[in-house]
């Protein structure tokens, strides 16, 4: 047997202090945006019955889920997703409440085989679910909230691609092919594999305008107005037309929010999760090769839990946002509110009182009672990202030494509070 005492399993990781601070700040920024939109935070259990995740429209293969058994032998899973537990929660425990339910969560989720490109088996999702709202207005609002949350977290060069699953689904309904064949075509379109799409259509004897359109779908992406115009040149059935109207309306709502520059369209985005029924979207940044948020409308998931309610939502992958922040600004995070207060046996009580006053004003004060040399304290402070060291002087005077420059000023408790308590919150300041 191997000895794994000093290792962690693949796909999970410790988060050290600097990164943890960035991660928590990111979560706080996102939470702030969600709360600001009148959404309410909920939590669901870390594990639930397997049945919750394996009925009807449930999306995850059972081999994707970590399983446990309870003392009576029933199968439990560690939550692989939050949308489904919240659907269950809304349909059961919130049944009596007036709709819509506008909810959000920030929770860890777990996947046996890792989540997509980065392969994480534990990651944090910050997501929104709006249950009981049918219209495309809610989709537009969701996308706008997602834009604002990712922006507020500090990600630059960010964009959201919008699609509508019914565009492609309505069009392939016109071809008489089996479910399996539809799945193949969906797969080719998803990978923008024009060669395979063309071969497939030739094999199925699909010709004329329909063939032309299906071959165009993978490249119908980019600027919203332009894509809608090109798609509109084709004779479309009602379902596909309605899909385009949805997208147009969602875009105009997002424009009203002032986020038009962050969005584009991809009509080749097909149903990747079987429960999606309308608008879907994916967000990404230039600096990360894979998506950082995704979402869409899922009008029939509630039915799995005995309730009829349309819904829409999205999730932001917080770990990936943090990754993007590090890539865009690799510079170590600063801690503008952090201080070390040096004291010795003789003046400890005075030091404690001083620290308490500074802490009451929201500053982070670490007491150093080791009585080591100033040089060692400065080295320690530099390593830990603390910018200033305070030493006690005569009376109520304090000496504040800047760790980087070595320069100092003589000031007082109110002086420090006046200068530093307004500093923007930890870490995020470092990103701008």
């Amino acid at each position: 047997m191997g000895d794994y005492r000093r290792q962690v399993p693949d796909g999970v990781a410790d988060i050290l202090a600097d990164e943890c601070a960035v991660k928590r700040e990111t979560e706080a920024a996102v939470r702030g945006v969600f709360l600001g939109h009148g959404l309410r935070e909920v939590c669901t259990p870390t594990f639930e019955y397997l049945d919750v995740f394996s009925t009807g429209q449930a999306v995850l293969e059972q081999e994707e889920m970590f399983k446990l058994t309870d003392p009576r032998g029933r199968l439990l899973v560690i939550r692989p997703d939050m949308t489904i537990p919240i659907a269950r929660m809304a349909a059961t425990n919130m049944k009596g409440e007036p709709k819509p339910h506008k909810l959000f969560y920030i929770s860890e989720v777990f996947r046996v085989n890792g989540n997509g490109a980065d392969g994480l088996r534990e990651f944090t999702q910050a997501g929104v679910e709006m249950i009981g709202i049918p219209g495309v207005e809610a989709d537009g609002e969701c996308i706008s909230i997602a834009v604002q949350a990712v922006k507020t977290a500090g990600v630059e060069d960010f964009r959201i691609d919008i699609g509508q699953v019914e565009f492609f689904e309505s069009i392939i309904d016109e071809i008489n092919i089996s479910g399996e064949d539809k799945e193949s075509l969906r797969h080719y379109i998803k990978h923008k594999n024009l060669v395979a799409v063309e071969e497939f259509l030739d094999k199925k004897k699909v010709n004329g305008k329909l063939k032309e359109l299906l071959l165009l779908i993978p490249v119908l992406y980019g600027n919203a107005a332009e894509v809608l115009r090109r798609a509109g040149e084709f004779p479309l059935n009602r379902g596909a037309e309605k899909a385009l109207e949805d997208i147009e309306k969602a875009c105009s709502i997002i424009n009203e929010y002032g986020y038009g520059e962050y969005i584009s369209i991809d009509l080749g985005m097909v149903k990747e999760l079987p429960y999606y029924t309308g608008i879907i979207f994916k967000g990404f940044t230039r600096d990360l090769g894979y998506i950082i948020c995704s979402g869409g409308r899922y009008d029939y998931l509630q039915k799995d839990f005995g309730e009829d309610a349309p819904a829409t939502g999205f999730a932001i992958n917080i770990n990936r946002v943090v990754q993007a922040l590090y890539k865009q600004n690799p510079q170590r995070s600063r801690r503008p509110k952090a201080f070390i207060l040096k004291c010795s046996d003789g003046d400890r009580k005075k030091a404690i009182r001083t620290a308490q006053k500074l802490r009451a004003a929201g500053l982070y004060v670490e007491l150093d009672m080791t009585a080591t040399s100033m040089d060692r304290i400065l080295t320690y402070a530099r390593e830990k990202g603390v910018g200033r060291v305070i030493t006690l002087q005569e009376g109520s005077r304090l000496k504040v030494t800047d760790v980087e420059t070595g320069k100092y000023t003589i000031t007082s408790v109110p002086g420090i509070i006046a200068s530093y308590s307004q500093a923007s919150s930890e870490c995020i300041a470092g990103w701008h």
Partner: protein, 213 residues
């Protein structure tokens, strides 16, 4: 400052053939042709940068966004099922993925499960799942043709170009799974974020390929 557009090439024959295509559309990659030992080759003129990696690794580089595009065999895409855009068939590195075995099947194991030797376990499992056949896969790294000859497997799933190796070892093609060729693949984020530059390359390549036909 503009960044270089990064393209991953599978080291070996495919790289040399791909380089020809890229040179045809005005991207200078002479160091690759000349067999450089460098792993990153830049052409400041076209702002394109090539990296040379193992064929197995191309899709990974593209999927994770370490490069914007890649040239990779369809065999690797079938096996690895990466999440990326497969935008162009480059028509080079053509061969076939086949099931092959001895002309007269020899049963040497007292069980009903067929043993399949292959470098492509996922492809083999998918193929036999569609046939509703249960199999046992022996995952080998090379000289797969040997397996049925020494009683390691009943059949093999492998790439065949001319069929000579099979023939010389007394094996025949039992079924063709699919034709294989090199594909141009693109990272999903890059296609959107670097749309203009990538499309320019795509368009030029498409034109060059059409002319070649």
């Amino acid at each position: 400052m503009d960044r270089f557009l990064r393209i991953a090439l599978a080291k070996g024959r495919i790289a040399l053939q791909a380089v020809e295509l890229f040179e045809n559309i005005g991207i200078n990659c002479s160091p690759v042709r000349e067999g450089t030992r460098r792993l990153i080759i830049r052409d400041p003129g076209s702002m394109v940068e090539f990296i040379l990696v193992k064929p197995k690794d191309v899709a990974k580089y593209v999927e994770l966004g370490a490069v914007d595009m890649g040239v990779v065999g369809k065999d690797m895409l079938l096996e690895q099922q990466p999440d990326l855009y497969e935008v162009l068939d480059l028509g080079i590195g053509k061969c076939r993925m086949v099931v092959a075995g001895p002309e007269k099947p020899r049963f040497f194991l007292n069980r009903a499960v067929k043993v399949v030797a292959t470098k492509y376990p996922v492809t083999a499992r998918n193929y036999f799942r569609e046939k509703r056949e249960s199999i046992q896969v022996v995952n080998l790294d090379g000289s797969v043709e040997l397996a049925p000859l020494v009683g390691l497997s009943n059949v093999i799933v492998d790439l065949v170009e001319t069929g000579r190796t099979l023939e010389e070892n007394g094996l025949v093609i039992l079924d063709e799974i699919c034709p294989i060729s090199a594909r141009l693949v693109v990272n999903k984020v890059s296609l959107k974020m670097e749309n203009e530059r990538i499309n320019k390359v795509l368009k030029a390549l498409r034109q060059a390929l059409r002319k070649a036909v």
